[in-house]
Point group: C2
Chain length 159, copies 2
DNA sequence: AAAATTAGGTATTTGATATAACAATGATGA
DNA sequence: TCATCATTGTTATATCAAATACCTAATTTT
């Protein structure tokens, strides 16, 4: 009879991860990582990280929003958002404007340079998406999108 | 004519992230995060993190594999794997066995306790997967799986 | 035998994220 | 009105994962 801890000292020629591959969550994470990595490369020429790109898009699309609103939208802690806003402001892509009716909050606005960079980056991001998802059939793509939405809703209870 | 940096100081009642939602990669990341969070909760009762669970499964399924093989399979840097293996060994879920033919390498093997914990955790993980993906139709699920595989292959060139 | 390579390991750095506490401002209610 | 309470942005700090540099021992190559 084999001992309790069967001390196998023969190394497998090839490591099997079949059991993990059977998990949809595992596949989801790997796919997400792959896309993240490609997106990071896509944004590098613009000196944007994913998180700074996200912030920039949201400021462009929601002129005047406060840091708290932005932090909530990005699901980032307020202290961490400060450094992101600092960076975008330092690069003169956005401005912190005082709001007269409430002197605690800042109204965030994109500068012309910020909007331009955002446009350029978006174009690159579209190409990146086309590169990765473009080879799927339209119907497959839409089913993938629906499936993902379902998964998100399953936990966060979102539309 | 509006100034260069239109200083909008009226905060939007609701922040729109429509542009980001249009990106499949964005949706993919959110879905992945949601599943990760649920999986983390699922594994917490077993005192396993996702990365330690992954390592344990691979050791159980590939008795005798080396730390280098495990690190490669998990796509983790060797130094970082050491602490993972340390933890599993300290908890007596796996053992580091010397290999007579090559005294540099360790052959990793799961103990009986390790295999048992792995089984229990796997059962919980299956329930977790059923909870999240079970409400999809079988066909939707399989299309989601295929779509994800396609995305992974697109970048890593994997089967 | 010397040089190069590999396995495992230690120490340290980086990077992202989370927590605690604070000043300034605004809102609320006795 | 005044005292309390909540919110906004901020600083400093803790935590945690992931990456880098470097080291020793063992093996392989030349």
């Amino acid at each position: 009879m084999k001992p309790d801890t069967a001390s196998d000292t023969s190394q497998p020629a090839q490591v099997s991860d079949d059991r993990l591959r059977g998990l949809l969550g595992y596949r989801l994470r790997r796919a997400s990582n792959a896309v993240q990595a490609d997106l990071a490369e896509t944004l590098k020429p613009f000196d944007l990280r994913m998180i700074t790109y996200t912030a920039l898009v949201l400021v462009v699309d929601n002129p005047g929003l406060s840091q708290s609103q932005l932090a909530a939208a990005m699901d980032v802690e307020r202290p961490n958002l400060v450094v992101i806003v600092d960076e975008l402001e330092r690069r003169e892509l956005i401005t912190r404007d005082r709001v007269p009716t409430d002197r605690r909050t800042y109204a965030l606005n994109a500068t012309l340079a910020g909007r331009r960079l955002c446009d350029q980056a978006e174009s690159a991001v579209r190409q990146h998406e086309a590169r990765i998802f473009g080879t799927l059939l339209e119907e497959e793509r839409s089913l993938l999108a629906r499936g993902l939405l379902h998964v998100i809703a399953q936990r966060t209870g979102e539309s």
